[in-house]
């Protein structure tokens, strides 16, 4: 039973608590996975064409927007990497972890978590069927990637719920 929770701690901080050890390990792996953003498969997904087949527009678009977008993605990953150095065990709750992060880092966390999920999906070629599977073979790299995508997705969903509760403009 996972008792993962994302809540506003005070006016300036968010507490992510009840992080099981397996998810804590996945979070620590995020910076390494994000380094794969420049592989061809991940690049095509993170920087998609803006039109279906207009080569001129697509080429100009990539020249104009890709550096800015990459900077945004890299910056989000670096922010999360720094925040993760404060990941500690929650002594009261037992074998779980927690981390407090500044509220203004929430968009970076959402971006980095989603980047990680998308990169894992591209690198391991996970499709709709792969995402819908419920039996995971521990020996299969693709299955383990799908499991990571689901667990990180659960955390991302909690951030989305937090956003819905407090509103993007006023609080996050």
């Amino acid at each position: 039973m996972i008792d993962l929770n994302v809540q506003q701690l005070d006016e300036k901080r968010i507490l992510i608590s009840g992080i099981p050890t397996v998810l804590a390990a996945m979070l620590r792996e995020m910076p390494e996975i994000l380094e794969l953003r420049d592989t061809s498969a991940a690049r095509a997904r993170l920087y998609p064409d803006p039109t279906a087949g207009n080569d001129k527009i697509n080429q100009e678009w990539h020249q104009m927007t890709q550096p800015e977008l990459r900077h945004l993605f890299v910056s989000a990953g670096e922010t999360v990497g720094r925040d993760l150095t404060a990941l500690t065990t929650d002594k009261e709750a037992g074998d779980v972890w927690q981390v407090a992060i500044p509220i203004e880092h929430v968009p970076a966390w959402m971006s980095a978590i989603n980047q990680t999920r998308l990169i894992l999906g591209e690198v391991h070629k996970i499709d709709e069927e792969g995402m819908n599977r419920t039996d995971f073979d521990p020996k299969s790299a693709a299955d383990m990637a799908a499991l990571r995508i689901h667990l990180l997705g659960y955390l991302l969903h909690l951030f989305v719920e937090l956003d819905a509760r407090y509103g993007a403009e006023d609080h996050i």
Binding site: L46, Y47, P48, D49, P50, T51, A52, T65, L69, L72, M110, S111, N114, Q115, R117, L118, G121, I126, D127, E128, G130, M131, I149, G153, L156, H157, V160, E161, D163, A164, A168
Partner: protein, 102 residues
């Protein structure tokens, strides 16, 4: 744009200007495509943030993406369409734009 200088034919001015006006007037559609990874709740949140849509409309569009594979989420001028596509890409959604056929 001054086609009369290039051709010296007054009639071309009308054709050229009409074409330019048509180009400007033709709306561009912003399309969001389904992908297996992005969460439904996340896509809804992005539609609310980027377009300022109320939750019911954002959810309807998200479900259209999920069930139909794509959804036309906005239509209008080209510059604004480009801005929206850029924003959607910054949230890692698969978005394209295309000139409206109507």
């Amino acid at each position: 744009m001054s086609p009369s200088i290039e051709t010296g034919q007054p009639g071309v001015i009308v054709v050229g200007e009409t074409k330019a006006k048509d180009e400007l007037a033709t709306p561009w559609n912003v399309i969001v495509h389904n992908d297996p990874i992005n969460l439904m709740s996340y896509v809804t949140m992005v539609f609310m943030r980027v377009f300022g849509y109320a939750r019911p409309r954002a959810e309807t569009l998200m479900l259209e993406v999920h069930n139909m594979g794509r959804s036309l989420v906005w239509s209008g001028g080209r510059e604004q369409a480009e801005l929206y596509v850029q924003q959607l890409h910054s949230y890692q959604l698969l978005a394209t734009m295309e000139k409206s056929v109507t």
